[in-house]
Each structure stands twice: as structure tokens, then as C-alpha cells.
């Protein structure tokens, strides 16, 4: 039924399996989905060799994750992959919300201007994975191994031992660190005995990829209780190649095997699009979801990321988007620890920061789920009341929740942050991901995020002669606004609430970790130590 041709990646028997010698690798990634592939690219970008094991030999079947938000695009841009994704994907700005047979209201996202990447794109997951696989194959530090299935995992003080099955049999490999990106049903998670707790939702969704044969507007349409699917919700949005993705809420009593049959699916879609709209069915699947997370993102030498660490409802596109941000958070920390430039304790901050973000995502997606699928008669009345009022009055529209677009969770409670010692305007508090802005670089138009290097970066609006500061062998580059970059539109100063002297310290993942009203080298050194998980002077702690 699908016109998309799934690529097959060749299985190759590794030299270590052939020779029967056990090798110890610095990093082994389990799972070559969007999160595992991103992990490989980010660690390789930081100079680390990575082996990726995947039990399959192709990309994701069906469109699955679909929606990718700005922050993941910024991360993939750092890894050289965002441009082809945006080129292939589609963006939408107009959203329509229908209630029963009426248009309740429509909105225009009008993304804030002055950012390199759009607020989000829609792209089938198979295309996204193709782009990531191609980038991995071009990187000599990445060893992608298809048809490699992890059978068991044992940890010692020094390493993790992995028993891996391939078409040529079973062999053993060792890893200093394992990154488990093997999805919501993670086998790795079971192997370490981790708990994965949360809330199950008694609901099922039918998802279909449909190829439209005629023009259809590039808009996101969300229906509450439509006449063609009474009592449930439906979502329609566009992807690449004239493929539309449709999500039908089915309820708990639906029979998944029956509902998947084309003779059931096609009449549903006809009722929705109208008899006159010609389409072809590309892919159909049924899913049910849960909101839950792992007890700890770190189990010894095994680190969990993506759906293996947390599962959310699909409303708000929080699955893949947060998984990519897990990797953004983890890769620099792991690289510093592997290079001996930071204590192993830094790895524990990965759990602190990303479990905090996962809980925030779970909260947001649970709220959307509760609005979309009210659990009681009274909550359904409130939901319908909000929709009734939204049709006529602007005040009720912010109450309507058909999924809130995923935005990064600031790590406001992170132990790596240096608390402010002065008051600042603007929202760039320590723990916040850096806002982009157009800047001039060497007389040309560039972007602020592109100027932030792979390591720590100091950006100052003051007068400084130096090019870098060095702390415990870690070099932080200094960017002076007016010397190295031009803020001709003043947007950078505006977004960072900066005046003369304002100085920011960014982590290697482009998060603000400290800021000051003037350039102070001793304070910068202290903040870098803290952001690397090193103990900081007690005196300052007491003063703060």
C-alpha cells in the first residue's frame, strides 16, 4: 500500500565477532532510532568513537513521531542535519479547532521572527531517520551495526558486558558506557531491573498516513466530537510528499485488529474528508499510550534516553523532541568524563536535569490528554463549555488544549547552575537554553547559536581583550559582542536583557549556566567548575 520504499541497510559481521576477541568500547548505543542516531552523532562530534547496535536493518515503519520542534532542529543543526530535514518537511502556521459540526476558532502561530529555524516541521519519521543514518555513515567515528540484538547485559565496576546476537551467532562486547535508546518497550531497561512507573490511559488511537490526490490546505485541523466520529477526537496534519497524517481516537472498547482493516479505516476517512476527496491509504497502525518514566536515567554505566526513559501521550509532540534533548544534555557530559576533564558525578546531573524535564513533559501531556479525553461527566461538561465559549469569545481559547507545542524545559533547579547575584531583565535565567538571534559575523549575516562553540562559551557585552579563559584544562572561548560578532539589530541584547558589561556563560549544550553584570574571570572559573560537577568553594555557597 505504501509508495515509500524502505531502505535495507547491510548487515556486516564485525571483526571482533569474526576473530572472537572481546573489545572494550567507550560508548555503545542500543537502538538506531532518532534518539540513538542523534546520540552517535553528538558524541562523534565531541570526538568519541561510538558503536550503535540495532536489531533491525531499516528505518521506522510509518510516519510515527511526525512533528519536530525548533530546539531539536537547533540540536540537529549543530550536528549538520537540520537543513535537509527542513527542506523535506513541511511547516504550518494555521490551525483550526472544530467542535461538533462547527469551526470553534482558528489560530495563526505567527512564529517570532529572528530565529534560524521554524517553530516546528512535520516530517515522516522514516525520512528523518534516513537523514540521520546518512550523516552517521559519513562519520568515521560511528560504527552502525544492523541486525545486532542485545541479549543480556552485566555490569562490573569497570564496564558493562554485552551479549549480542547477529545472523552469525552470539558474541560478547564490553562498553565503558551504554546509552539505551531502545524505545518504550526497552529490553535494556528490563535487563538492569529499572522501574518504569506512571499512568496508563484507557484509550486507543488509530493512526493513518493518507496520500491526497488533490490540493488540500496545509493546516492543522483538530476536531472534538465531530459528526463523522461522534464522542471522540480527530487530528489531521500534513507531512512531506502530499501525505496527511490522521489520528482517530477510538476509545478503550475498540478492537485494534478490526479497526486496522482497510474496510474499516477507509469509510472513516471518507466520512471525514467528504466523498469527493480522492486519497490512498499509505499506512495504518493502532496505539495506546501511557505517561511514565524510569526511576533513574542512570543505572551504573547504563544511561537511558528517549522513550526508553520516559513515555508521554502524543499530544504536543513531546516524545522524539524530548528524547533528542536528552542526548543534547548527556553527550557533552559523557565526553568530558571520558576525557577525564570532569568527575563521574557530572553524569548524575543528567538524571537531575532530564528527569525534571520528563516530569514537566508528562505533566503537560497529561493535561492535554485530560482535556481531549475527559474522564468524568463533569469534566466533559467543562471541556464542552470551554469549546462553546471559544467559538464566540477569545478568553476561552487559551483554555482549549489540543496539545501544547513542546518547548524546552528550563533546568531551573539544576545543581550545575550558578544562581544570579544581580537582577536581570529578560527570561534567560541560568538553566535556560540559549535564544537564537541574527548577528553579524565578519560582515555577513549569521546566527548567534552558530557562534557558540562545542565547549563552554563566554559571551560578553563588555570590553575584554582576551580570546579565552582556561579552567582545570577546560578552555572556554570568549565572544565579545562588538568585537567578534555584531548585534546590529539589537535583538541579541534585547533577548538577553543585556547592557554594557553583561556577561553570560553557556554550557556545551548551549544552555545558560551563569550570568553577571560584568566580566569577572574568577566568577567564570567558579561557574565552569560548578557546571562540570566539581565542588565549588564553600564560602560562596554560604554567602548565596
Amino acid at each position: 500500500m505504501s509508495q515509500y520504499v524502505y531502505p535495507r541497510f547491510n548487515y556486516v559481521c564485525s571483526p571482533e565477532q569474526k576473530s572472537g576477541t572481546t573489545r572494550r568500547h567507550p560508548i555503545v548505543v542500543i537502538g538506531a532510532g532518532p534518539i540513538g542516531l542523534t546520540a552517535a552523532l553528538d558524541l562523534a562530534a565531541r570526538g568519541q568513537p561510538v558503536v550503535v547496535l540495532d536489531d533491525n536493518d531499516t528505518v521506522s515503519v510509518g510516519s510515527r513521531a511526525v512533528c519536530y520542534a525548533k530546539r531539536p532542529l537547533e540540536i540537529w543543526d549543530r550536528l549538520g542535519c537540520a537543513a535537509p530535514m527542513v527542506e523535506k518537511g513541511v511547516s504550518w502556521n494555521i490551525g483550526k479547532v472544530f467542535f461538533r459540526d462547527q469551526l470553534s476558532y482558528q489560530f495563526d502561530l505567527l512564529p517570532e521572527p529572528g530565529h534560524k529555524w521554524p517553530a516546528m516541521i512535520n516530517l515522516q519519521q522514516y525520512y528523518l531517520e534516513e537523514i540521520l543514518v546518512a550523516a552517521c555513515r559519513n562519520n568515521p567515528l560511528i560504527d552502525l551495526r544492523w541486525k545486532h540484538r542485545l541479549l543480556s547485559l552485566h555490569q562490573s565496576d569497570e564496564c558493562a558486558q554485552l551479549a549480542v546476537e547477529t545472523p552469525d551467532g552470539i558474541f560478547t562486547m564490553e562498553a565503558q558506557w551504554v546509552i539505551a535508546c531502545d524505545g518504550a518497550n526497552s529490553d535494556t531497561r528490563r535487563m538492569v531491573g529499572a522501574e518504569f512507573k506512571g499512568q496508563f490511559f484507557h484509550d486507543r488511537f488509530l493512526i493513518a498516513d493518507v496520500r491526497m490526490k488533490a490540493d488540500f490546505p496545509t493546516e492543522r485541523w483538530f476536531w472534538f466530537d465531530p459528526p463523522f466520529h461522534p464522542g471522540q477526537s480527530v487530528l489531521l496534519h500534513r507531512q512531506a510528499d502530499n501525505i496527511w497524517r490522521i489520528d482517530f481516537q477510538l476509545g478503550w472498547d475498540a478492537d485494534p485488529d478490526e479497526e486496522k482493516k482497510p474496510e474499516r479505516v477507509i469509510p472513516r476517512i471518507k466520512a471525514m474528508l467528504g466523498e469527493g476527496t480522492a486519497f490512498e491509504l499509505e499506512w495504518v497502525s493502532i496505539y495506546q499510550f501511557a505517561c511514565r518514566r524510569i526511576d533513574n536515567f542512570r543505572h551504573g554505566r547504563v544511561l537511558f534516553a528517549g522513550d526508553a526513559a520516559h513515555q508521554v501521550s502524543p499530544f504536543g509532540a513531546r516524545g522524539a523532541n524530548t528524547g533528542v534533548q536528552d542526548i543534547d544534555n548527556l553527550a557533552w557530559k559523557l565526553a568530558l568524563v571520558l576525557r577525564g576533564e570532569a568527575p563521574v558525578a557530572l553524569i548524575d546531573s543528567y538524571h537531575d536535569e532530564r528527569a525534571y524535564a520528563a516530569d514537566d513533559n508528562i505533566l503537560n501531556s497529561t493535561r492535554a490528554t485530560d482535556f481531549i479525553t475527559p474522564k468524568t461527566r463533569v469534566s466533559r461538561h467543562f471541556r464542552d463549555a470551554a469549546l462553546d465559549l471559544a467559538q464566540h469569545h477569545g478568553f476561552a481559547r487559551p483554555l482549549v488544549n489540543s496539545g501544547r507545542l513542546s518547548t524546552p524545559t528550563p533546568y531551573v533547579t539544576s545543581p550545575l547552575n550558578t544562581p544570579d547575584t544581580a537582577s536581570f531583565t529578560g527570561s534567560m535565567t541560568p538553566g535556560t537554553n540559549a535564544a537564537d538571534a541574527p548577528v553579524g559575523v565578519g560582515g555577513k549575516l549569521g546566527w548567534f547559536l552558530d557562534c557558540l562553540g562545542p565547549g563552554f562559551t563566554v559571551v560578553t557585552f563588555g570590553a575584554v581583550d582576551r580570546a579565552s579563559v582556561v579552567v582545570d584544562g577546560i578552555e572556554a572561548r570568549i565572544i565579545v559582542v562588538g568585537r567578534d560578532i555584531e548585534d546590529s539589530k539589537g535583538l541579541l541584547a534585547h533577548r538577553y536583557g543585556a547592557s554594557a558589561g553583561t556577561t553570560y556563560l553557556f554550557r556545551p549544550d548551549q544552555y545558560v549556566t551563569a550570568r553577571w553584570t560584568r566580566f569577572d574571570e574568577a566568577a567564570i572559573a567558579q561557574a565552569i567548575r560548578r557546571a562540570c560537577g566539581r565542588a565549588v568553594a564553600k564560602r560562596q555557597e554560604l554567602a548565596a
Binding site: 463533569v378 461538561h381 464542552d384 463549555a385 478568553f395 476561552a396
Partner: protein, 64 residues
Amino acid sequence: MSLILTPNIADPDDFYAELIGAQRDLSEEESMRVNARLVLLLANHVGDRAVLSEAIRLARSPAG
């Protein structure tokens, strides 16, 4: 501002009659919907989150 708990409606009998009158001829389901709309309209008018929280708390346990 905190939640006003002293009399604040000029003509209490008239208001009460209007509130009950708004439910006339409605089924229980329709009435529930009208009251839900009313809560949302009034909540938006109040706006202040702390006041709304106080009102929700007192609605559940009037003794405070």
C-alpha cells in the same frame, strides 16, 4: 487582592432568582453545561490565580 467573603452583591434576592431562573426548563445535563460556562466566564473575569485557588478550595470545603 484576596477573595471577597463579605456581602458584595447589591440585590442578593434578585441575583439569586436570576441564577435559578437561568436553569429553568433545562435538563440536568444542560444545566450542568450552563453552570460550567458560568464558572469559566466568572473565573476569567476574576483572573487572579490566588483568588481562584481560594475560591476552589472554599467551594470544596466551605468551612475553610
